[in-house]
Subunit: 154 residues, 3 copies
């Protein structure tokens, strides 16, 4: 088992199983040693939303944090699907997180920490990244959060 | 005529004529063999919006799909303007689409398919890309959709 | 003093002093000679917002332009912090600006010009960039604008 695989096991993290979409939109795109991941949603392995609603109205911060963490698990599953072993990730470059926000909710960074914290748990300092966290007015399937990521491979 | 030029002709697609802006903001920026396009709007060759309003309130999904396709045509026009021949596009890397959404509209991906489908029509499998589709609260000139793109050149 | 340093002085621009965050999220991430900056907010050197509210309701365009310029100053401070001398910036690649917008505000590009104009003032034609400017429904700490940037180093 790879080093990152062992760490996932120690953390009790089991990645969802996924199928690639194979249409115009794909889960990830690689140019040189940089991989762009499509926006990840807090969905189960059938693509059904596990969390729905607007943060600050339908969901509280703690629940939204968990939704962002699920986006992160799905991102890791995509990575594993494309590169075989998570050890091939050199480091996380950039994260963009969008939070389906109530009008007066302004703690988007605290939500996206659910994603960012997972990357540091799994990759250590290599999981650190530049980030933008913003409030969206509406998101696909009314999920509370979507997160996209750019990583460097090795 | 280039291979992609022939395909455009076969598809009956005529690209709009455009002028570069030549100010602080330019239509595209190249680093190495990666080109970043500025957000494309559903505007005519004079920069006037062809579509306006919020999707799910002022426009329906089908109309918004067409607006996203027009963003794609404008993106192809920028590409052609910068690199001369669309054959120089190795592949589409990443697309970010923002949909000016009514509060209860959550089919942003179906709108941005208007852009993504065009890329696959024109470039085939090289048009496949990672993507994020989100709902914006407001967009420049109240257009229903804007799309930005990153492509790899060869 | 470096060439860019002299230009900053001639422009009467003094950059804020900043500390790196050193957590999961960092201010910037470098891959090859490309640097991704985290979203910059219109905050003072203690991270407190200098501007708050929605553009078109709580703030007018001129004030929002100034807020975007402050995002730009903070971006320059991050750049300087990471690479030592701003002369090491080869050119600005891409800017994404989000404006905390009232529902009927649609001049997001005019706001983000506060950021873009600064880059051209400081870097000249090397400050020109591809850009997307969009309306967000909510932003961290209810700031009126956040801007992220990608630059090429040399």
């Amino acid at each position: 088992m790879s080093e990152t695989g062992k760490r996932l096991e120690a953390l009790g993290i089991e990645l969802p199983v996924r199928d690639r979409k194979g249409k115009g939109v794909v889960d990830a795109s690689i140019v040189g040693d940089v991989m762009y991941l499509s926006a990840q949603l807090p969905v189960d392995e059938n693509g059904q939303p596990v969390y729905v609603g607007k943060v600050g109205a339908d969901l509280d911060l703690d629940t939204a944090y968990k939704a962002a963490r699920l986006c992160g698990l799905n991102a890791l599953a995509v990575l594993k699907d494309y590169v075989g072993e998570l050890d091939r990730v050199d480091h996380v470059i950039k994260v963009l997180g969008l939070v389906n926000s109530a009008g007066d909710f302004s703690s988007q960074p605290a939500v996206i920490n659910g994603f960012s914290d997972l990357m540091v748990e799994v990759f250590g300092y290599r999981g650190q990244h530049a980030r933008s966290a913003m409030g969206a007015y509406a998101l696909p399937m009314n999920v509370p959060v979507v997160v996209e990521m750019i990583v460097k491979l090795r």
